[in-house]
Symmetry: C2
Subunit: 346 residues, 2 copies
């Protein structure tokens, strides 16, 4: 039984460095005093950084790691340094049951490769998928996966992603039978690649703890019509980043529009409280923390460029998954559907 | 030599029907009295509709087509009705040199299949690609292709798309050596699918009338760092639609924010002229008109749901391509690089 109240944090990963990671952990601890942390990384630098965050000392233990995985290190190189790097040691703490989840803002490919080797896959799952909740116009976020762990997939992978994503949505949103759609370039049955059409056929005919809602096009992701959207890691990564980039693009244009005249500046100042709320709603730091589903343990990827507040969001999400016993719930769902998934599509 | 001042319009295609198509043609003609049109479709319904647009009668000829391609007709069925449908006849007018371009708002798959069979591919091109200019923060739009004509491609297709896109950008933006990037899920050389890595290798080493700028991620499409972005039709369609959907999503949230209090409503009213400009900049009707590159003739796809103003934009773009002699310029570029493209990647 893992220590459910403890999160192992790779304190060295990410583009923003140790200071931001520690500030994020302190923020998460400030929001929930029951959380405990194991901070993995350069012992003396962490001790130094902790002086700024007295609220952490009671709830944090430091585990030394002499090395760090770099942003451009290949996964195949990274896995050879699992025992000496902050990322590898943080994952190992989950494996040993000393932490309920590991959180890292480091190299995604390395994180997945290490987690896969150390924690192994759940029975019935061939590959992990990176999943995250994205904002919608509806009551709930939508869980989207895979967001980049697997550039190429087959129909079987897509069906497994659907079941894992549905389990995540059931846990996260307290739903009976989450609405699961497949990302595609059209809504008609004959659209898309062979893999997608085959996966749709299985999802349509199988008895699963989800409601298959068919194909979803890219312009309908945020409408709130689905609880889960499934795709290969290439399309998911393109969609996620295009959405981020477009939101920033519109915000930039809006800023230009509002500063284009004295009149518009005045209007902006008056409506500022409302636009501030919007800014917060769209801030990627408030939606940070993607999880590798399908592993025998919880590993959360924080965005490399996340702020302290983004890191705190990712940690909060990790804690929520641990408390909800997400891994066991996915395993249970998989146990119930394994037969269907293994059956080749007609 | 095609009649460069005449555009053949499939008057029956599109979700919005004949009235919107005719209003769009009238609008385009209003903006440029030199344009002439052949309106293809149900003769008596068109004659009826034309009464509303007296400015068109002098510049438009009607060609009767007894049938229409439906939105859910399969391309394989559509091509058998090339001689009797408004879409097929409009394309045939380009083939016969009676029009410089065909414009249709109908079924994309059918349009591509018919255009490919009727007009045939340019020498050196295996498959057409759907290309369109998208708004950026920079001085120029960015040409993106393929936007959905080919769900699956190989490296050779991607290289051909790059050369065609560059020719389009040179024509459209008057550039010497357009900056061409490949859409990918990371900027490092080892990222993405085998096809993308192989295409990158060819583009890096070949001498082409373009500047290869490497991999572009989804969040950087609108930054204005590239003149052309190349991808397979699946990723392109997902990116395009996700960008459209996200822009609409942000606009919806903004509307909610502005109407959330009396104060914010007031601010909105004051800054309205500025936000109106923004709305116009983002309106998809102002960026309408994707072209099938690689064909022996110009065929432009207008968005199925475009307004009259969107149809007019698509027609204006088609006229611009005809005047710039886009087909010949692409053919010339292809003639110069055919050797490189046929050479398999090392």
């Amino acid at each position: 039984m893992p220590d459910q109240s403890t999160i192992a944090v790779d304190a060295m990963g990410g583009d923003e460095g140790l200071a931001v990671m520690l500030a994020g952990v302190a923020k998460a601890r400030g929001a929930d005093e029951g959380m405990r942390f194991i901070l993995v990384g350069d012992e003396s630098r962490i001790a130094d950084g902790l002086r700024k965050h007295p609220n952490l000392s009671a709830g944090a233990e430091v585990v030394h790691a002499p090395e760090v995985i770099g942003g451009s290190d290949k996964p195949s190189q990274a896995i050879r340094r699992a025992k000496t790097t902050s990322m590898g040691i943080a994952i190992d703490l989950v494996k040993k049951g000393r932490a309920g989840a590991a959180v890292s803002a480091g190299n995604t490919g390395a994180l997945m490769a290490m987690a896969k080797i150390s924690l192994r896959m759940l029975p019935g799952i061939d590959r992990p998928a990176l999943a995250a909740p994205l904002p919608t116009l509806g009551a709930n976020d939508v869980i989207m996966l895979d967001l980049g762990a697997n550039a190429e997939v087959d129909a079987r992978n897509l069906v497994q992603f659907a079941v894992m994503g549905a389990a995540y949505a059931r846990t996260n949103f307290d739903l009976e039978s989450p609405r699961v759609g497949l990302l595609n370039i059209g809504s008609e049955e004959q659209k898309g690649t062979g893999e997608i059409r085959e996966a749709a056929q299985v999802l349509r005919s199988a008895t699963l703890p989800l409601t298959f809602t068919g194909f979803v096009e890219g312009d309908k992701l945020a409408r709130g019509d689905h609880d889960v959207i499934v795709c290969d890691g290439f399309a998911g990564n393109i969609a996620l980043k295009t959405a981020e980039g477009t939101a920033r693009f519109v915000a930039d244009l809006l800023r230009r529009a509002f500063t284009s005249s004295i009149r518009s500046k005045l209007g902006f100042l008056i409506s500022r409280p409302a636009t501030e709320l919007l800014r917060e709603h769209l801030d990627p730091n408030n939606h940070n923390g993607a999880v590798f589903l399908g592993l025998n343990g919880i590993v959360v990827k924080s965005h490399g460029g996340a702020s302290a507040s983004g890191v705190a969001t990712a940690i909060g999400n990790a804690a929520k998954m641990v408390r909800a016993d997400l891994t066991r719930r996915i395993a249970d769902d998989l146990g119930n559907v394994a037969q269907t998934m293994i059956r080749p599509a007609a």
